[in-house]
Assembly symmetry: C2
Homo-oligomer: 424 residues x 2
């Protein structure tokens, strides 16, 4: 299988240089990028007036939560979780979660996301949706033991069961990740065992850390230290760990994250909507911490649009620091692409020969993206997910001219709508 | 001319109640809203799976600035203005501004804006574009005299010339508004004369007030009082005044605005991107001040998408106050619709019998807007401008199924692109 994308504005290489060029995809990777490629190809896409961008990497989400979109807004985090989200999640069967996963996959494909790091439950059901959709999914089962040793054992058993189930799919695109929920919901015993298992099975770990002030208070009271210091002290941290949120990090925390090569998945939309706070982006970047971008779940965002998320990230940090020069367009664009790929250890996130063919073609023939004065600026500040026209993952076209080829869009929307009465 | 919109989810009345109903438009106003209207109509629109929303009212923008979109980002306000925007604006001929106005009108129609309050120059050129487009435009010439009496006279003359030119168009849809730029760029003499003329000609006034901390410093140094106190002291304020931004308002300022019935046009995207600061939304609302919503120009946003702007408003104030209950979805939706109409004194901004037929039909048959758990939440938190399918102003269809009927989209995009080299 080969694809030739002609005449687009290509965002090329690590520096995101804009070049008018053709892109040749062979198999699952980018074979060539240059002007006037004359090879024949199985599929030829005319990208005139369009931008060929690395696909977006959503580094923290809960993909099936689209089912809960709009069911509870404008509420404090704990009220939201305890009285609205958790009671509804208790009603989610594997079957419902699969419907949510399909809805999430559809939304991601339609907005140019090519890879995502997920945390939810019944991830074997999610894995099937990911496999079908053509997306690249890193899937973690969110473990919560609340300090109960019986629950610890049960959670680890479930995680390993889901790992094996996902491994059986035998797809490079669908990977298991360990996902202890957070230091305030997991015991030290669970966290230590997860660390051991992740190293043994060569798997990544993702975990919510320092999302709210309340969490900091709780952990400090229980352990006499910050969540990050706690995780460092038990040997949990490493370059295979991706912490989500990292809103309330102090200078010592940031140094620890930098020293251990930990990635932080920033979720500006969710942090703003739940009023969790503003993460110290500039300090993290200055300390050399790898920072990626995520949407969080659609119940606290309320969408999975990485183009919108880039704008939120840029604007939030400018106003918070009263400095318009921070979180510039290129920095934020890199967070949404290359930094995510680095965190996951995949050769993706940029368009360059030899890299995975994970990309999005964005239609710039629209009034809000004209004149084409600055491609990266337009993607960060002017565009939104609906501007994505074509999405390619692993050298396969998932959406062409807004038509999703791998999934039955109408059926997924209908299925999602049918669940409303059952969990609302 | 009559239009019947069938089977949509209609956002009805002042309380934005969601009803499954039909909407009958006769002439330029809404004749009837109820289930099962059987009247015949010139045009019938099937709105199944769609939301019929009041059109959005952009209460502060500079519509031709799309031409400068992306030309200068991530810069401090004064560097941005003095070294990038003003030198380019100096090159803008009436002909170029008309191209920019067409681009802006196109963008607004495509994102469901039906009315806008504009400030720029060569507004007679802008007025032609507005007239053609079918939008409802309130157009002000931005006056700047920098304390030079000769310039004062010149600016007033130009404003009156543009007023007469716009009046000659003889269209209810295109109205002249007085637009002294700001207290720091206009003399007291100019402001007083504008106040007198506005009352004489029964015209609204719009002006930038308290946008940046630097402005507060400058005005306080020059006059020994805040910009709002200054304007109050010279008798400038009234219920016909719409101030843009209002970021740095203290409690006394807020009381003055409330007492005078002044409207504030909030521009969260621009205030965030230029790092101007966070306006005191809660305090203004609590004081009973009417607050509308605007995008500001596309050079500091960088689009004119009111759906995106609603999300920015909600999220900004939640995180700034560390309180997720503030700026809830309905409050923000009202800012973008009814509050804008109130400021302009038009019977619009809601869908109700007898109100102007200014509305947007939004396609909810999309993954990021499903399940339809909460229509207003989805519009504020999940939707974006591209979701708007049909835009109706004054009982006339400007866009149907994403096709703009009043303007030549391709020509406008081409014309805008051609200008790049000339002002870049």
């Amino acid at each position: 299988m080969s694809i030739l994308i002609r005449n687009g504005y290509v965002i090329y290489g690590e520096d995101f240089e804009i070049v008018k060029a053709d892109v040749l995809i062979e198999g699952n990777s980018i074979a060539e990028v240059r002007k006037g490629i004359n090879e024949s190809a199985d599929t030829v896409i005319d990208a005139s007036g369009r931008v060929v961008s690395p696909g977006f990497i959503n580094l923290h989400t809960h993909s099936p939560m689209g089912l809960l979109r709009g069911l509870a807004d404008d509420l404090p985090l704990m009220d939201w979780l305890q009285n609205h989200i958790w009671p509804r999640e208790a009603k989610l069967t594997p079957e419902y979660i699969k419907v949510g996963a399909y809805l999430g996959a559809l939304e991601m494909i339609k907005t140019g996301t090519t890879t995502f790091l997920d945390m939810y439950f019944h991830m074997d059901a999610v894995a099937e949706a990911v496999l079908d959709s053509g997306l690249r999914g890193y899937l973690s089962y969110g473990m919560i033991d609340l300090g109960d040793p019986e629950k610890t054992e049960k959670e680890i058993k479930e995680a390993l069961r889901e790992m094996k189930s996902i491994e059986k799919l035998n797809s490079e695109r669908v990977q298991f990740v360990f996902g202890p929920h957070a230091p305030y919901t997991c015991s030290i015993a669970l966290l230590k065992e997860v660390r051991r298992l992740a190293s043994e099975h060569n798997r990544l770990i993702t975990i919510h850390v320092s999302e709210t002030m309340a969490e900091i208070g709780q952990i400090t009271e229980r352990y006499g230290k910050s969540p990050v210091v706690l995780l460092d002290d038990i040997g949990f941290l490493g370059s295979d760990v991706i912490i989500a949120h990292g809103v309330w990090l102090d200078s010592r925390d940031i140094q620890i994250l930098a020293r251990n090569g930990v990635t932080v998945a920033h979720n500006p939309g969710s942090n703003m909507k739940l009023a969790s706070g503003v993460m110290p982006l500039q300090k993290l970047i200055n300390a050399g911490v790898n920072v990626g971008l995520g949407t969080d779940g659609a119940a606290s965002n309320n969408n999975l649009d990485m183009l919108e998320e880039m704008k939120l990230a840029a604007l939030l940090h400018k106003v918070h620091n009263l400095d318009p020069t921070v979180a510039d367009a290129k920095t934020v664009f890199k967070m949404a692409t290359l930094n995510g790929a680095r965190a996951l250890g995949i050769k993706a996130g940029i368009i360059k020969e030899g890299y995975l063919a994970d990309l999005a073609i964005i239609d710039f023939n629209q009034p809000h993206l004209r004149p084409i004065n600055n491609v990266i600026s337009h993607l960060v500040y002017s565009a939104n997910g609906n501007d994505v026209e074509t999405t390619i993952v692993d050298g396969k076209i998932l959406m062409l001219d807004r038509e999703v080829l791998t999934l039955d869009e109408e059926k997924i929307l209908d299925d999602a709508e049918k669940i409303v009465g059952k969990i609302g």
